[in-house]
C-alpha cells in the first residue's frame, strides 16, 4: 500500500502522536500513573503505606500463581492458535490430584518453618507430569479431532468450554462441592519481612516455586531443541512442517508443559487459599486478562500481565470489597488496552 503523497500535516502529526501514545512505554507509564494515584488516594482515605506495600507483596505472590496458569494458556495459544477455556479447570485438576497423591503418602511433619511437610513437595513433583498427561489426553480425544477437521476457532473455543464444565463436574462428583484444605486446621507460620510486613512462610515457598518453574520454562524455550521448535511452530506452523519439525511431538510437549504448569499453579493456589471445585474456573478470566494484557501468544508478556493482574487484584481490596478484586484487575486491563490495543508485546514481529 502506498500512502497518498497529499497526506496532510495534521494527519501525519496525529498519526505520529498516536503511535507514540500507544507505545509500550505509554502502557508502562499508565500503570505507573495508576500506582501513584493509588498511593495518593490511599493516603487521602487513610490507608497506610505499609498496608499497601503488604498488599502489593501479596499481589506479587498471587501474580506468581497466575503466571503459571497464564504461561500455559499463552503457550497453547501460540502453538495451536486456540483459546483453551478449560485451562482453569486443569489447575483445579492439579490441585485435587495433589490431594489424592498426598493421601497416598505417609504424612510428614512440617519442615523448615513451613506449614507443610515433604509430602506436599513430592505430590507437586508427581502431579505436574500427571496434569500434563491429562491435558494431552483431553487434547487427543477432543481438540485434535477438531483440528484434523479444520474446525473453526469458535468451535474449538466451545469445545474447550464444554471440557471446562466436564472436568469441573467430575471434580464435584468425586470430591463433593465443599471446600477443603491440604492441611486442615494446621498452624501457618508467619515471618516478618520488614517491620509491619508479615507474610506466611508458605507464601514465600509458593513464590519461590513459581519463580523456579518460570526460569525452567525460560531455559526450556531458549535452550532446548523442543523449546525452540515450540517457538518456531508458534511463529509459523507451515514453515515448521516444511523444515521437518514433527509438529505432533511439539503439540504433545506443549500440552505436557502447559498442563504441568497448570497443575503446579493449582496446587500452590490451593495451598495458599483452599481447594474448591470451581477454584480454577474463577481464575480463568483473570488468567485470560493477564495473557491478553501481555499480548496473547507472547510468553514474557504473560508473565508481565500476571504480575499486574495479581497486584491490582490484591491492592484494590484496600479500597473496595475484596470480592471485586478480579473486576478491578479487568478495569485496569481495559484501560491498558485502550492505550495499547495489541497488549504489551504485540506488534513485535
Amino acid at each position: 500500500m502506498t500512502e497518498a503523497p497529499s497526506l496532510s500535516r495534521g494527519r501525519a502529526f496525529r498519526r505520529a502522536a498516536s503511535t507514540a501514545l500507544s507505545s509500550r512505554w505509554s502502557l508502562v507509564a499508565l500503570l505507573a500513573l495508576l500506582a501513584v494515584l493509588t498511593v495518593v488516594f490511599g493516603a487521602l482515605e487513610g490507608i497506610s503505606g505499609s498496608r499497601l506495600l503488604g498488599l502489593t507483596v501479596r499481589g506479587v505472590l498471587l501474580g506468581g500463581v497466575l503466571a503459571l496458569g497464564a504461561l500455559g494458556i499463552t503457550l497453547v495459544f501460540g502453538v495451536l492458535k486456540m483459546a483453551n477455556f478449560a485451562h482453569g479447570d486443569y489447575m483445579t485438576t492439579g490441585a485435587y490430584l495433589g490431594l489424592v497423591v498426598m493421601a497416598l503418602l505417609p504424612a510428614g511433619a512440617p519442615v523448615l518453618g513451613l506449614g507443610f511437610g515433604y509430602e506436599f513437595v513430592v505430590a507437586l513433583i508427581v502431579v505436574m507430569p500427571l496434569t500434563g498427561l491429562v491435558a494431552y489426553g483431553l487434547d487427543r480425544i477432543t481438540f485434535r479431532r477438531l483440528r484434523r477437521r479444520r474446525a473453526a476457532p469458535v468451535m474449538m473455543a466451545m469445545a474447550a468450554l464444554g471440557l471446562a464444565f466436564g472436568v469441573r463436574s467430575i471434580v464435584y462428583m468425586v470430591f463433593g462441592a465443599d471446600f477443603t484444605f491440604y492441611y486442615q486446621g494446621a498452624a501457618r507460620p508467619v515471618v516478618e519481612l520488614l517491620p509491619g510486613l508479615r507474610v506466611r512462610t508458605d507464601q514465600l515457598f509458593i513464590l519461590g516455586a513459581a519463580v523456579v518453574l518460570i526460569i525452567l520454562v525460560y531455559l526450556l524455550l531458549e535452550r532446548t531443541k523442543i523449546g525452540k521448535a515450540m517457538r518456531a511452530m508458534a511463529d509459523n506452523a507451515d514453515l515448521a512442517r516444511i523444515s521437518g519439525i514433527a509438529t505432533e511431538r511439539v503439540v504433545f510437549w506443549t500440552w505436557l508443559i502447559s498442563g504441568a504448569l497448570a497443575g503446579a499453579g493449582g496446587m500452590l493456589y490451593g495451598l495458599d487459599v483452599q481447594l474448591r471445585p470451581e477454584m480454577g474456573w474463577w481464575l480463568l478470566l483473570p488468567l485470560f486478562a493477564a495473557v491478553i494484557l501481555g499480548s496473547i501468544g507472547h510468553v514474557y508478556g504473560a508473565l508481565f500481565g500476571a504480575l499486574v493482574m495479581g497486584i491490582v487484584w490484591q491492592v484494590s481490596s484496600a479500597f473496595v470489597n475484596p470480592a471485586y478484586g478480579p473486576a478491578a484487575a479487568f478495569v485496569v486491563m481495559i484501560l491498558a488496552l485502550l492505550v495499547r490495543p495489541q497488549g504489551l508485546m504485540g506488534g513485535e514481529r
Binding site: K225, K228, A229, R231, A232, A234, D235, N236, D238, L239, A240, R241, I242, S243, G244, I245, A246, T247, E348, R349
Partner: protein, 234 residues
C-alpha cells in the same frame, strides 16, 4: 539422471483447479527455472512437489521414489528443501535458531553445517543472534535459503527468491544461487524476473494457464517469440 519428475499433475485449492496437467523434470546438478505470468500456477507447482497440496491426477517422483502427496515433514527427509515466497523465516527466532530449525530432523551437533551457511552468507554470521523478524528483506531471504541448505539437500526449491528486493540484492541472490548450484545442489526455482532467471538456468519452463507451454534451454526461451506472446497474455 532425472532427480525430480512431475508428470501430468492436476491440482488446486479446494474446488479451484489451478494446475491442468503440468510436467516438469529436474536433472542432477541442474538449475531449472519456471517462469510465467501471474496466476499461471508457478507457486502451486512448488507446493504440490513439497506435499502441501495433493495431486488430483498425475505423479511426483523424487530420486526414484513416488512422493505424490507425501507430507512435507516426510519429504524433507529425502533431500528436498523448500523456501516459500513469503513467511519463509521464523521471525521471533534468531538467525542461528532459524538455521537450527532447518536441520531439526538431525540429532547431531550442527556447528559444521551452520559454519557452511555462514561461509556462503557472511552477513548472517555477523547477525547470528539477531531476530529474523527484525532484518531487512534481503537478509531474511538469506536466512530462508540458509535454513533450507542446512540439510545439504539434493534439490533446493526456491519460490520467487528475488521478489521485492532491491536490484543490488537481486544480483546477490542470483549469484548465491549459482554458487549453491556449483557446489552440486540442483535448483528448481520459480521467478517473476524471467530474464534474469532464464539467463542463469540450464533449462526453463514457461507456465501459463496451469500448463507448461514451452520448454527449453534458458537462453533459447529468452529469444523465443512464443514466450514473449505468452507473457503478453496472448
Amino acid at each position: 539422471m532425472s532427480l525430480l519428475t512431475v508428470e501430468g499433475a492436476v491440482s488446486g485449492y479446494g474446488e479451484m483447479q489451478v494446475l491442468n496437467g503440468v510436467s516438469i523434470r529436474v536433472d542432477d546438478g541442474e538449475i531449472v527455472s519456471i517462469v510465467g505470468p501471474n496466476g499461471a500456477g508457478k507457486s502451486t507447482v512448488m507446493k504440490l512437489v513439497f506435499g502441501l497440496l495433493k495431486p488430483w491426477e498425475g505423479s511426483v517422483v523424487f530420486d526414484g521414489q513416488d512422493i505424490s502427496g507425501l507430507a512435507p515433514e516426510r519429504v524433507v527427509r529425502l533431500g528436498l528443501c523448500y523456501v516459500p515466497q513469503v513467511d519463509n523465516v521464523f521471525p521471533t527466532l534468531t538467525v542461528e535458531e532459524n538455521l537450527e530449525m532447518g536441520a531439526y530432523i538431525l540429532d547431531e551437533p550442527l556447528k559444521a553445517r551452520k559454519d557452511r551457511v555462514f561461509e556462503l552468507f557472511p552477513r548472517l554470521a555477523e547477525r547470528r543472534r539477531q531476530r529474523a523478524g527484525k532484518m531487512s528483506g534481503g537478509e531474511r531471504q538469506m536466512v530462508a535459503m540458509g535454513r533450507a541448505l542446512m540439510l545439504d539437500p539434493k534439490l533446493l526449491m526456491l519460490d520467487e527468491p528475488s521478489a521485492g528486493l532491491a536490484p543490488l540484492l537481486v544480483d546477490m541472490i542470483f549469484e548465491k544461487v549459482a554458487d549453491i548450484n556449483a557446489a552440486g545442489v540442483a535448483v528448481l526455482m520459480v521467478e517473476q524476473n524471467a530474464k534474469r532467471s532464464l539467463e542463469l538456468a540450464h533449462r526453463g519452463y514457461v507456465l501459463a494457464g496451469g500448463k507448461n507451454q514451452v520448454e527449453g534451454p534458458g537462453s533459447a526461451l529468452l529469444s523465443d517469440p512464443e514466450v514473449a506472446r505468452l507473457y503478453l497474455g496472448g
